[in-house]
């Protein structure tokens, strides 16, 4: 495995007096798509905000490769209607970019021809693509998305994830995203991290979906929905899955609970 782009080791984050995250260890390497799932208030956004540097860890260490470029797509961005802003101008914030670069980024994000529109006039799907284009401007090593498809309908979010996949192939960047849409996201991820203040379990989508910690959080109902998409795999690789699962648990022990022992 190549050297991680960014790594957290036993990281704790406090928000006020509240512990939002504790003992979180994870690393990201080039080209992988990692999804963070977890119930509301489980610290998903806190985790992303720590990775982009908006929050400082109160314990543990965050290391990243020198000159790491991060592209960040925030959770649905509210732009005040009193702020006039064209898509083109938005892309030049805070660093001015040339027309060529802006055009290219819009193309890569599937948002051509929106250049002269007002940000407040865009549809939900268009808006998210413009946010994606903005994140692609500096040719990021890591793309971080915080519930990027919130408010999109199912075909809309499926399209958006297909776009992310194309971007990943084109740029070879790592992708870390938070999502609520378990089935879509899990089908598109290499690795899933299930978060609830700490990392409950992590691994390949099938592994996580069958982990008891995951079921405890999301219920077996969600697993049923997932099975709809994944049933062939779980049938043929039942045995493997069990192995994976055990293996993964050993991992989990050292990663997330290492400090307690």
């Amino acid at each position: 495995m190549s050297k991680p782009l960014i790594a957290l080791k036993n990281v704790c984050v406090h928000i006020g007096a509240k512990v939002a995250l504790h003992d979180v260890s994870l690393s990201l390497t080039s080209g992988e798509i990692v999804t963070v799932v977890g119930p509301n208030g489980s610290g998903k956004s806190t985790l992303l905000r720590t990775l982009i540097g908006a929050l400082k860890p109160t314990g543990g260490t965050l290391t990243h490769r020198p000159n790491l470029r991060i592209g960040y797509v925030p959770q649905k961005l509210h732009i005040d209607p009193t702020l006039p802003l064209t898509v083109r101008r938005f892309l030049s914030l805070p660093q001015r970019v040339s027309d060529d670069v802006a055009q290219k980024a819009l193309q890569d994000a599937g948002a051509e021809a929106l250049e002269h529109q007002q940000m407040t006039s865009l549809s939900g799907g268009q808006f998210q693509r413009v946010l994606l284009a903005r994140a692609l401007l500096n040719r990021p090593h890591i793309l971080i998305l915080d519930e990027a498809t919130q408010g999109l309908d199912q075909p809309g979010s499926a399209d958006f994830y297909a776009q992310i996949e194309r971007v990943r192939q084109q740029f070879g960047c790592a992708v870390l995203m938070v999502s609520h849409e378990l089935h879509v996201v899990m089908a598109a991820s290499d690795r899933v991290i299930c978060l609830n203040g700490h990392i409950c379990c992590e691994g390949a989508p099938e592994t996580v979906a069958s982990a008891p910690e995951y079921r405890a959080l999301f219920g077996s109902g969600t697993h049923g929905a997932l099975a709809l998409y994944r049933h062939e795999h779980s049938h043929t690789h039942d045995e493997n899955c069990a192995h994976d699962h055990n293996h993964h648990h050993a991992d989990d022990q050292t990663h997330a609970h290492g400090d307690h022992t």
Partner: protein, 266 residues
């Protein structure tokens, strides 16, 4: 006899100085929904007038320090789960009340309270003019230098953090700029109407702008017309100048909103 000997010329220049700084800053006040914040800072500054008179300091210095303290207090309270509008309302009006009471207790000097509440642009002296233009220039330079960062932080704090911009620092810069604008504008429009000079030109400019820069420029233009027209009308009809300037500004705002309404419906 130089041009500056004419009190009308000094009045116009003072108004222009204030508008040049207040209109672009006002855009941020509108975008960030800080209208009440501006109000609170402005109202608190009457306390600065009282302190300056009591300790024989310059009015500018007194107002600037109180406005700065108020702006910093309010911005540090922001985002801590307080009901901001209630809190700001309490602070704005209580500091105004305390300020007026404090001014009235200082009986060593006879002062015209109205001049501080509504401004006295016709009494602007050369020294005042210098202070106004230096303050306005400082604010304008600060805004232009930090424009992109301020705008990004205004859009979304996390987006700013991801780009290596500290949203807290940008908030601080705006607070500082606000305090300076309040301190230089007190002579021109008075504490009660400073917020109007921040908000109304920016709000009137909104329908005509497609980019933030354009909105700031149009706001300055509307401010300039208001100052010119206001002083002219006040002279003609013998009305208080500061409020007349704000009236012209408000009429322009109505015209702008109306034209937008018509444009949308046709």
């Amino acid at each position: 006899m130089s041009l500056l000997d004419d009190f009308m010329v000094r009045a116009v220049l003072a108004g222009l100085g204030v508008v040049l700084a207040a209109a672009p800053l006002g855009c941020f006040v509108v975008w960030r929904r800080m209208a009440y914040f501006g109000d609170a800072t402005a109202h608190a500054s009457i306390l600065g007038v009282a302190l300056a008179l009591a300790f024989n300091l310059s009015i500018f210095g007194g107002v600037l320090s109180v406005a700065l303290i108020m702006a910093l207090t309010v911005s540090s309270l922001g985002g801590r789960g307080y009901a901001m509008d209630t809190l700001l309302g309490v602070m704005a009006h209580s500091s105004l009340a305390f300020g007026i009471v404090a001014v009235s207790l200082i009986d060593s000097v006879r002062i015209d309270l109205m001049a501080y509440l509504f401004g006295d642009i016709l009494a602007v002296g050369r020294m005042d003019l210098l202070v106004i233009w230096m303050g306005a220039a400082a604010v304008l330079i600060l805004l232009i230098a930090r424009w992109s960062a301020l705008l990004t932080a205004t859009l979304n704090p996390d987006l700013a953090s991801a780009a290596g911009i500290s949203p807290k620092q940008e908030q601080l810069i705006l607070s500082l700029a606000l305090a300076v604008v309040v301190a230089v504008a007190i002579k021109v429009v008075g504490v009660l109407l400073i917020a109007a000079m921040l908000l109304i030109p920016a709000a009137a400019a909104r329908p005509f702008a497609r980019t933030p820069e354009r909105m700031a420029a149009i706001a300055v233009g509307i401010g300039i017309v208001s100052v010119g027209g206001g002083i002219q009308l006040a002279f003609q009809f013998d009305t208080p100048t500061g409020p007349t300037i704000v009236c012209v500004c408000a009429v322009l705002f109505c015209a702008a909103s109306l034209s937008e309404l018509i444009r949308k419906n046709t």
